[in-house]
Symmetry: C2
């Protein structure tokens, strides 16, 4: 039997899944690593520790088996600098690192941020390496000038295993330096940053074979010269195709602690208000929005409105006892600022519309409705540009109950397909390996590896109610948005 | 020993207190009556039932004692119509009757409401008899044309006892028909309504003796020809002087279920934004704002955030555990719409500024802070016009804890005097009786009948914190106000 290892390089851990040649999961392994958050807005990781974790995972899965390919699903937007000997000069600045926020503020004011979005599809947010480069140049000019190679975490791991400096399009798109039209590094932006193409990895396809594992790691990791390292792709792209959302007909939505909605479009689409990203991929363009406030807000409400000892089940039961629309009580879920659809790190949560007859049950229900309204608005901008899908394929901890799934169907007015597989990332990485090895011709073959748990259809009466609430929800959000910055400033002063 | 009976004609009950000639309380009695709320926004009372209650109260207090005077503290803004024989044609339309709201909306749009406020000091609100008259003329033209005498509940009670149709200035001011400058019925407004001065009571002073009790009631109520009936005044005016707030140096604030802040100014003051009322009284002008959202909001939060079995004490303990300013969580207390300072019946409550680190304790504290911010803003408009007082004299169920009293001192940045006496209305009514009988020369004598429980001084650190929060609280309120009407409409549709 031959095997492919799909590796998902996450923010807090790397997970590997061993698949046999039929695409069946055989084993899995996971190793964690710390996030370094010593300063305000800092969120770094040590690339060496991640490489150690990856080696551990591969070794624990290879076990004298015939591993034909190692493929990758990776966290996006990280930035690492190497010196002329390709030794580390920096940690990995992860997507969660917000220190470039003032750079973004300035770039927004002078129009550069809008230009970057227009040219690259990268949203206006400090997570993008393009802003991190401006920030490093300004704040740490010595390190900036010593760096001879800039790359992300997946590129670093592939470099360590194979000696090759390559980056697939889906990851390159997340840097804010890849031109959406030419699919090459954007020369104009590079010169504005003050770098050249030479310091960036060579662009490849996700299903390209990068090469073989270097001698030293073959022995160490129990692999041989026939083990191919595949370029792999971003976790955003792979978790989308990994639930079978392979064209505009289906959107993929994952809501765990945070959430995201994505679809694979045939053409690149740019939004006037920069509400969604557009990242080129092997086949088509990944359009989508990452949402900060998913299950983490549900968890907050469970603890604050009920109590630390009450369960999620208790909270759902209470919420379910309130009528659809929570009798006009509106909740904005921005407890952790927000990315899509409003892209405002200072955004805050709110309950608006309270009357004396509102109960705890309605407060609870409004929280869940608010989380879903926000997911819907993140999707809505995409729907307006890419067209209405036939269904939404959902995964994640927040969408495990019939109640929440039905509410999604009612708010979206679309069939909601709850997916069984929650490991879309490694599954799709494995599938890239199959493509690379010539075992699968195109993306459509991935569907047979995915399976649906249940489909939820909209209730027309509830749809009408939610359609009445949504404009008011949006209008109030719009009014509140004017005060978010002042509110954040006040809260900072009151600390 | 001689006695004076002070009667407080409230919305749900009439309370009478028997005072001896030294001003000591000897006995009290109370009788309730129902509020008729059969239609949307209706809130009527049967004047005959109220007169029955008043007779019961007088009879239970007189008891063969030598009663030298009966004096009144009365609910304001009621309207009753009598026919040519002075028989009832309508119930009493109380201050809580909101059926004239569309009349007010129209009057606001065409500028009449602003003119009424400018000329009479009566806020723009359907509770004012002037708007009720327009409404009756439009909705019940037959009754309107049959009415030969319009009066309020106190005037009706005095008429029944003495046969005289008189109204003191403080009650007349609450009709919206009394000219602030001339202190006579406003001819221009009367003609706009379509009535003449003849249908309204004769204007008298609060401390005027109206006359003796009619023969039939002397026997029935155990009184004699020496019992004088005093004109009395509005409960707003009397509860103010009844805690010793007899000039601009002291404000009076009462917060029970709802609340109000008032002061007695030497001159009449009109606000550009119509945020407060200005009612002439015997000595000076009563400036103030009635606030809907007091202890009733505290009660709501206790039940919804804690639970129906938790006590007010539990809620205060929880709130007290959160830091001053609730870490920037802002609560607007408009659960029951609001009169002063925003005068918007569609206003709704809100929590704004939620982050993941906010706890139930901070939500609880923010509720109390929000109630007090709103009281402060109702006072603030008055302070800006009438000047800063030396202290605030407080009474009512909401202000019984050290915690709430200290918060008032910190938000107001003023000494807060908690008063012992909670029966300021009947006390001041009794005092009017003493003035009428020549036993007390002027208002300043009332101070010796009031007593202070404790004085609370501002904590400078907390003052600074609240001063930082208030502008943000106001700005957000201002932004939210744009959606109140839409929100109320939505909630109505979702019923």
């Amino acid at each position: 039997m031959k095997y492919i290892i799909g590796i998902d390089v996450g923010t807090t851990a790397t997970k590997g899944v061993l698949y046999d040649e039929n695409g069946q999961k055989v084993a899995s392994a996971q190793r964690g690593y710390p996030l370094i958050q010593e300063k305000m807005d800092q969120a770094e990781e040590d690339p060496k520790l991640i490489f150690d974790a990856v080696q551990d995972v591969i070794f624990s899965l290879s076990q004298k088996r015939k591993i034909t390919a190692i493929s990758w699903s990776s966290q996006m937007h990280s930035l690492i600098g190497l010196d002329e000997n390709k030794e580390l000069l920096t940690n990995s600045l992860t997507w969660a690192d917000n220190r470039a926020k003032n750079v973004v503020k300035k770039a927004k004011a002078d129009g550069l941020a809008q230009k970057i979005y227009q040219q690259t599809g990268m949203p206006i947010h400090p997570m993008a390496p393009v802003y991190k480069l401006f920030w490093l140049k300004q704040e740490k000019p010595k390190i900036f000038s010593r760096v001879k190679y800039w790359l992300g975490i997946k590129e670093y791991l592939i470099y360590r295993l194979t000696g090759k400096l390559v980056e697939d399009l889906s990851m390159a798109a997340g840097t804010g330096l890849l031109n959406l039209k030419t699919l090459t590094w954007d020369q104009e932006l590079l010169s504005q940053v003050g770098i050249t193409e030479k310091v960036l990895p060579k662009l490849v396809k996700s299903s390209d074979i990068v090469g073989s594992v270097k001698e030293e790691y073959r022995q160490k990791l129990d692999l041989d010269e026939n083990t191919k390292v595949i370029a792999g792709a971003s976790d955003g792209y792979l978790s989308t195709i990994g639930v079978g959302a392979i064209d505009e007909a289906d959107f993929a939505m994952n809501v765990g602690t945070s959430g995201g909605v994505r679809c694979l479009a045939k053409k690149s689409i740019i939004d006037k208000k920069a509400q969604f990203f557009c990242y080129p991929a092997d086949q088509g363009y990944l359009i989508g929005g990452p949402v900060n406030n998913g299950g983490i807000v549900f968890e907050w409400a469970r603890k604050v409105l009920l109590g630390p000892n009450e369960s999620a089940e208790d909270f759902l039961t209470l919420a379910q006892s309130a009528p659809v629309g929570s009798r006009g009580l509106i909740f904005h879920p921005y407890l952790g600022g927000e990315r899509a659809p409003i892209w405002d790190a200072n955004a805050r949560g709110s309950f608006v519309g309270l009357t004396r007859s509102h109960t705890k049950a309605e407060m609870a229900r409004s929280v869940i409705e608010g989380i879903i309204f926000n997911l819907y608005d993140a999707s809505h901008a995409i729907i307006q540009s890419a067209g209405k899908p036939h269904a939404i394929r959902i995964t994640g901890g927040f969408v495990q109950s019939d109640f929440v799934r039905q509410m999604l169907a009612d708010v979206y007015n679309l069939p909601i397909i709850a997916m069984k597989n929650s490991e879309g990332g490694t599954l799709a990485a494995m599938f890239l390996g199959k493509q690379a090895l010539g075992l699968s011709p195109d993306l459509s073959g991935i569907r047979k590896f995915t399976s649906e748990e249940k489909v939820y259809f909209p209730n027309p009466e509830n749809v009408v109610r939610y359609q009445k609430i949504l404009p008011v929800y949006r209008e109030i959000e719009n009014d509140l948005a004017k005060s978010y910055e002042k509110l954040a400033y006040l809260q900072n002063k009151l600390q």
